[in-house]
Symmetry: C2
Subunit: 297 residues, 2 copies
């Protein structure tokens, strides 16, 4: 049974009635499971986490985009988080029995309906991007609703789907297939943030470390400890154990060690299976040997 | 959603038609999922692995016991594996959102119907045992069909449910709730089986090692290596990482190390999460953070 995770963001975090109307599109639907609804009043934005089979998930997402476009007026929207549309962003992540290519296909299917039927301009990002400069969502959304509205009919600024002008009240939407992202934090036996910064620099991709690792060194005020905080953009290719062991090695040179770690939010089970495979030296362990995985077939 | 794993064993491993009739009880039933059917011709026995919600699982198991009692004649049965009934043994294991006590209750419910309606004597073993000397299945089944038949109406030998005499054709059945069992093998960098035997002795419960660990040292002919082969009867209380690290420590004294390991068959995901918790030092990781676990709610 193919499964996709979708984490759409809507530009309403205060009006409970509107949020409930949007989220209702994911409730009591066969083949769709609502995992989480996180409204944020300061951001004036709601992040929904839902998992489902391709067809019913696409239907439910389209329903929610329609509701959001009817209930949210972007000309009146204020909030701290960058945003450009009522349904601001729709990321799709393959979970099980589905390829990234198939998720890209589904993102295009979504974009086509949202563009042509709902009359909302759509930008494709990450794995769904048709242009290199659209891979990064922050670049696509630069200037937010107001900025995108101004430049949307200029050459090279036009959307990938839908009208070449802003939908006044619904704004524009970004849709992208992407790999699951794991947020991973490692706490050190020191309060010296400089050590955390040095370790972060040594282990992250952009300064010569591990591919797929974004890392920063920060200081945690409440615990008085230094932390290496990471976003892991491909835990299949660069698994948690490799990061953990490399941090140990880098920490040793500063005479510090790891005190504890945390995975923030959700993780695919495969990321943990890879950890067990490494430390238990399980050469031939198959994910199908996990009882719970068999129940999702 | 409470889930139970059931691994019933039936005394027919050769006649495909009979096996299919028995297994049909687990197919296309809401709330019941057939994971595996393993017939063995030498043993003349079929092991079925099924997972389900309590009510529908009990119904399906009862259906299979009825079919087996109609299709299998124990007076004609021959096979290498010890056996005493058409449905020989029904182990129930809690998987999710259900306690061991509730599994014991279900085992009693099963036993009551099998005893009173199907007229088959039932012995309760493991966690369902009412007497200490019935905890061990091997003891309950001692002498097999023929032996049990002879002594079943003697004092102290009578079944826990059902008639106090053997059901000629269906035999007797053992039912027991038990913890999930994980089969774990560790291969060593030596072909010296004595080293594997010494390590097995040092790490297993009965000779002063870890609780919940049964271990033997054996020699693998095809690979020319010595192996510590284990049955882990409670991986929650005695997790895999602790066994792995203790074997490393014991192996070091003989100048050998672990080359590779294997988990045989199914394992509950919690066993692997515990491994990740230890090696990644995840103090506060909750199973609910595993995306796939959320899908089983």
């Amino acid at each position: 049974m193919p499964l996709i995770e979708c984490v759409p963001n809507y530009s309403e975090g205060r009006d409970k009635e509107v949020i409930e109307k949007i989220v209702a599109n994911f409730k009591d639907k066969d083949g769709v499971k609502l995992l989480d609804t996180s409204p944020d009043e300061d951001h004036n934005r709601t992040v929904v986490t839902v998992v489902g089979e391709p067809e019913p998930l696409v239907e439910a997402v389209l329903g929610s985009v329609k509701t959001a476009s009817e209930e949210i007026d972007m000309t009146q929207h204020e909030g701290e988080h960058p945003r450009m549309g009522a349904t601001d962003v729709i990321p799709l992540t393959p979970v099980k029995d589905i390829t990234m290519e198939e998720c890209v296909d589904l993102s295009e299917k979504l974009a086509d309906v949202i563009g042509s039927e709902f009359n909302i301009p759509v930008f494709m990002y990450e794995e769904s991007a048709n242009r290199k400069d659209r891979k990064n969502l922050a670049k696509v959304r630069k200037g937010e609703y107001e900025g995108v509205k101004k430049r949307i009919n200029e050459d090279g600024e036009q959307p990938d789907y839908g009208p070449k002008k802003m939908n006044e009240s619904a704004g524009a939407t970004a849709i992208g297939a992407r790999k699951p992202l794991v947020a991973y934090n490692v706490n050190l036996s020191t309060s010296d943030v400089d050590i955390a910064k040095k370790i972060a620099k040594n282990i992250r991709q952009r300064s010569g470390g591990l591919k797929n690792v974004k890392a920063l060194g920060i200081y945690l005020d409440d615990r008085d400890v230094a932390q290496v905080t990471m976003n892991l953009v491909d835990v299949n290719q660069t698994p948690l154990y490799r990061i953990q062991e490399l941090i140990k090695i880098e920490a040793a040179r500063y005479g510090v060690h790891i005190t504890d770690c945390e995975i923030v939010g959700l993780t695919p089970v495969e990321a943990l299976i890879d950890v067990a495979r490494y430390y238990l030296q399980l050469d031939s362990f198959d994910s199908e040997q996990v009882l719970e995985n068999r129940l999702l077939e």
